[in-house]
Structures are given as C-alpha cells and as structure tokens.
Symmetry: C2
C-alpha cells in the first residue's frame, strides 16, 4: 500500500483511530473538493484564506494574482493547505458527544513557483478542471498577458495527513436509555440550476458537462 | 452603521470592492456557517484545522478536548478563524475569468480560556446550537467531568474582515462574442434524511427541529 508520510506535523496526537494512512484516501478527498483553506504566516500571525486548487499526481497547485500578498509570501515559507468535506451532523443523546462526520486532508509544504509556460498551463488546467470539469477545452485559453498576471505555486504532496469521522454518535452506554433521538443528519454539497450570464448571446445552450452537475 | 475595524491584517489589498464593511455582514456569515477553519502556528509553521464554533454578540467560541495540542497552543498566540460559504461556480467564456461566488469572514485574535462554569456552559450552548439548533435543550447537559475535559476559548470579534463575490462572470468585452456559454452554477449545502442511530430505542421519532432542516 502506498502510505502517507508520518512526520511530527502529520502524526495525529488526538484520536489516531480517525486517521487515514493510504495515499488513495488523500487523493479521494482532494479530488472531491472545490476549494481549500490556505494557511500562511503574515507578520508573525496565521492567516487562513479560501482559494481554488488542483491536483496532478503528487503535486497540489494553487494560483492567484501576481499582486496578491498572500501568494507572494508563499514561496519563501511553509504553508498548510486543508480540504474539508462536511458529511453529517452527529446528533447524540448528550451534548458532549455531538460531533460532525467529515473527511479532511491537511498538507504541509514549501510552495515552488511554476514559471515555465507549459507547466503553468498544465497547472492552470488542473485548477480549472477541479472547479469546473470540462471547462478548459470549452473556453478561451489564457493569453500571454493573462498568464503573466497569474502566479502559480506547486506544493508537493509529500507531507500530508487524512482525518475522518463517519458513522453514528458514540454516546455513553447509560445514555442509551434516555428518551432522546440520536443519529446523523447527512450534509452534502448540492448544485442548483445554472444561471446564464445576463450578457449571454441568445441561442447558446447550457453544455452537457455543466448541466449534468445539477443535483436540485 | 456599526462598522468593522480596519487593521493591517484585515484591510483588503486585493479587490477591495469585494470587501464588506458592516458588522451585520460579519454576523450573517458566521451565523450561517457550520464549521470554521482555525489557523494556528505550531513549531513555526501554519496549521489549518476544521472545527465547530459558536457566536454570542461580539465573541466567537471554539472548543476542544483539553488534550488537543492545537487548542492548548491557542491561548498564548494569535489565531485566525475563517468561515467560508461557497455560493456558486462562476463559469466564464475565458479560463482566466473563472471564479467562485462566495462569502467569507476572517477573524484575527488572541483566544482567552473560558473557565468559569456558567460562562463555559453558555459558550458550549452557542457552539452546540450553531451546529444543531434546538439540541441543547433536547439532550443531556454536560456533566461536571465532561465540562472539565472540554477546553473552551473565546475570541473577540474586534478584528475581522468580510469578503465576498456574487453575480455573473466578468468576461472581457471582446469575449462576449464567443460561442461559449457563460453563467453561474449555484452551490449550496443540503441536508438529507436523518439516519437514526442503530442503537436508538424504538418509538422515538425524529424531533421537529431536526426534521425541518432536511432539504432533500
């Protein structure tokens, strides 16, 4: 089995039974996500910002404007990237055992700037397709000027941990006698009907790769 | 208008037109969330972990086991708490203008331990009700032992920023002529039918405050 590394940063000290140790679990969590939360240090204090990302093999890519301070600060320091899926609200008989079902991946690494044009396009394709599968080939490719305005960073997936909780509440045995409902309220991300740009030219239908994502 | 503070940490340097400046926008984002992403510094590198939270007036509460290193590290350092709602995937005619619609709140502050019993119970109530409205009164209250095992931290909402993007894509004018669909794919969090604990005693129905959250 292709295992995840275990370092001081990725070893779980709390509830190690909730950790995942195979690399496919990491890929599954990353590939199912839409945004990550990027942690950096700015002037000595932590900053957490939501942003898009993409994965290719064992590299995670993020991008931003070349003018964004958070990304500019990136290449010279370790960052943390966390992707979380909330799967359910765990409703126990006791306040104490309330919890959530979730899957999360936490990645630590020092980002490297991606500057070569082909590598940059490959990374941007991964980031675009993560958010909107099928869009890279359906839309106008980045111009030279747009490419120059976009900073791309690569983070190796060499130091990562996976943590999850699934299943029913873990109430203490004596509480099972209480007259209190217990279980899980499932949570998932849903996609509504696409809203066309008011400036959309008439006669352009919603493409299949977008329409098929609608869940409600 | 009750405005948000503007400090070096909360002033937006990128796209300031996406910032929110009134306090009610901050409250709305926090009150609509289920989990936050907590950023701390551990051994010099950033760490971002998902966790529950609650809000009462101008204080944000988080909690954890007294044995959790991330929370133990909290009281002596500034932390960052970010709550993000993903509202849509912005599908532009150009790769470059792909984006997301979102609302996010970023809070900076130095957590204070909440140790007095009544204050701790009040904070835990806020955290529980944030995740599961109606559950505090419907379930068994924390015992003295459970309270002792739970660390509660209070973070003042005095340094916070709100950022959001809403609306259609912002394609460059010449791209409007392209034969490419553009618009927004709405994203929202949905709740499925409650799954009873396999150990649930027979004859206990799903309470109304849980059943009414189901969206699909």
């Amino acid at each position: 089995m292709n295992t995840l590394s275990s370092t001081d940063r990725t070893r779980l000290t709390r509830l190690p039974e909730r950790s995942g140790t195979d690399r496919s679990a990491l890929y599954d969590i990353l590939d199912a996500g839409l945004i990550c939360h990027l942690g950096i240090i700015v002037n000595g204090s932590p900053r957490v910002l939501p942003t898009g990302y993409g994965r290719l093999d064992d590299t995670l890519y993020i991008h931003g404007s070349t003018g964004a301070s958070s990304l500019m600060a990136g290449p010279s320091q370790d960052v943390c990237v966390t992707v979380t899926h909330l799967d359910g609200i765990v409703l126990a008989r006791s306040v104490f055992h309330h919890s959530v079902n979730y899957r999360s991946a936490v990645i630590y690494g020092r980002p490297q700037s991606v500057t070569e044009t082909d590598a940059k396009l490959t990374a941007l394709r991964a980031i675009t397709e993560q958010l909107a599968p099928g869009q890279w080939d359906a839309t106008r490719a980045p111009s030279r000027k747009e490419l120059a305005a976009t900073a791309v960073l690569a983070i190796p997936l060499s130091e990562a941990s996976v943590k999850l909780r699934q299943g029913p509440p873990s109430d203490d045995e004596p509480d099972h006698a209480l007259d209190v409902w217990a279980g899980v309220l499932p949570v998932h991300q849903a996609f509504g009907p696409p809203r066309p740009d008011p400036l959309l030219r008439p006669g352009i239908p919603v493409p299949g790769h977008i329409a098929q994502r609608v869940t409600s």
